[in-house]
Structures are given as C-alpha cells and as structure tokens.
C-alpha cells in the first residue's frame, strides 16, 4: 500500500440526534435500535455514530414494511374512518366519577360508589 496515497474519504457519520431527525423517530428510539443491533453504528465513548449508508438501508427496511412502520401504514387517517364517532356520549355516568382524576382514582371511585 502506497503510504503517500490519500486516505479514502471517511463515510459520513451521523450523531444520534441527526439520525433521529432523518428517520422521524425519537433519539431514545434510535439508541434502542442501536443497542438491539437493528441499526448499525459505532460507539465512541458514550456517543453513537451512524454511517449515512447504514441509515439509508434501515430507512428502506422500515419503508418496505420490515419494521414497525408496517402497522401505521395500515391505519387509515382519522378523517377517513372516524374510529370513535359512533361511541361519543353513548354512556351516562351521572357525573359520579371523573376520568380526569386519573384511571386509578376512577377505578377506586367507581368501585366505592357501586
């Protein structure tokens, strides 16, 4: 190998926040992908770095339905299906319980009033 030859260019390495932005995911989720080995990356100290090519492959896999994107891709927009429209106001609790107090308090209150 010719020591005078220029070093090959370093592939573009992205930090987690930039990778998260490009994927439209949270930084926490990108770190989980990295920990699980689903997204290839290098760890330097406490920081992860992801090569742009690896990120592009991962995006392609997600878009192809190999990842979690498949579920959301099947969910129709709310303005198309109105999923809860037929259930609005079908019950009357008489104001005895308030869900804004929290689900645990709602359970306790509902049981107590029975």
């Amino acid at each position: 190998m010719d020591p005078r030859a220029p070093a090959p260019p370093e592939p573009e390495a992205l930090a987690v926040p930039e990778a998260a932005r490009r994927l439209g995911r949270s930084t926490e989720q990108v770190r989980r992908y990295l920990r699980e080995g689903r997204l290839r990356g290098r760890r330097i100290g406490n920081q992860w770095f992801i090569e742009a090519g690896a990120l592009a492959e991962f995006r392609t896999a997600l878009a192809a339905g190999a990842g979690e994107g498949a579920f959301l891709a099947r969910v129709p927009p709310g303005d198309v299906v109105e999923p809860l429209a037929e259930t609005i106001g079908i019950g009357r609790g008489g104001g005895r319980v308030a869900i804004a107090d929290g689900k645990d308090a709602y359970r306790r209150s509902a049981r107590w009033r029975r």
């Binding site: 709310g78 869900i99 804004a100």
Partner: protein
C-alpha cells in the same frame, strides 16, 4: 416521547381550573422527510372514557380534542392492552351494557404488543421512581403504551389521565 409538547386543547379546563384533557403532540411528528404524510396519535383509555361518558366533566373537552385530531387526519390507534383497559374502565364506571356497546361500535386500529414491547415496558417500570410501599408508579398497561409509542415513533397521545400525560410528556 421526549419530543412531545403537552398542548392544552380547547376547553382544556373546567370552571375549577382543573386540567381536563390534553393532547401531547410532537414538535416534529413521525413523518420522516415527508411533511405531507399523516401523523399518528395513541389513544389512551382515559380519553375513551371521557368521550363515551356524556356526564364526565372532561367530556366536552375530549370531544373537541377528538374532532381536532380527526380533522387533522391523525391516524388514531391503541394497543390490545389499551383496548382491554378501556373496556374494563367503561364496565366499571358505566356498566357492562355500555362497555359492550362501545366494544361493538368502536373502530380503533389495535396494535398487538409482543415480547419486545413487554421487555421494554418492564425496563421502564423498573427504571422509573418506585415507591417502596406502593411499587412502580406507572401501571404496566401505561408502560406498554409508552413502549409501543416509542417503538412506532409516535409522539402524540390523546389522554385525559394526568399520570399518563406526565409520563408521556
């Protein structure tokens, strides 16, 4: 859900000033590079109860928030555990007839949790502040909901339960 910002929706407070309903929305949703792609929101069981119970103090605000989400084209979904929790809460608070009627008429998309979701929820439960007497402050169902939201890259949640909103915020 670190990117989420809790935004009070129309009618977010009643006369007493108590927060009634909120939608935690992302500053940048799970749209990737496509700003036109519809984004998604997790529907917590507390929002379902508020929508169903016409007498609940949070009902009007929940309906307004729901109309807002639907109008914006949000993809609304819950988990199988969230669906069961909603049914159980409705059965407890409004009776089995209403709960059954709701189950028959609702058309929410349902995500089925798997072993990875359960493991992530367990990790969250054990990592949050734990009261030695009361145990983890988060329910397993809520922890699963948060794990699924994270897995799907969903930062928006439609909820009324302040505990869930705090955890999702």
């Amino acid at each position: 859900m670190t990117a989420a910002t809790a935004v009070a929706e129309p009618g977010a407070s009643d006369a007493s000033g108590r927060a009634e309903v909120a939608v935690a929305r992302p500053e940048a949703g799970p749209r990737g590079d496509d700003p036109a792609a519809p984004t998604a929101a997790f529907v917590d069981a507390s929002a379902i109860v508020a929508l169903v119970d016409a007498d609940d103090p949070a009902h009007a605000a929940a309906v307004a928030a729901y109309r807002d989400l639907v109008g914006d084209g949000y993809k609304l979904f819950t988990t199988d555990h969230g669906l069961a929790e909603a049914y159980d809460l409705l059965r407890l608070g409004l009776g089995p007839a209403v709960a059954g009627d709701w189950l028959r008429r609702q058309r929410l998309a349902v995500y089925h949790v798997d072993e990875a979701d359960l493991a992530e929820a367990q990790r969250r439960l054990l990592s949050v502040g734990e009261d030695k007497a009361a145990g983890p402050s988060l329910s397993l169902t809520d922890a699963l909901s948060l794990a699924v939201m994270d897995r799907l890259g969903v930062a928006a949640a439609f909820a009324v339960d302040p505990g869930f909103l705090t955890a999702a915020g």
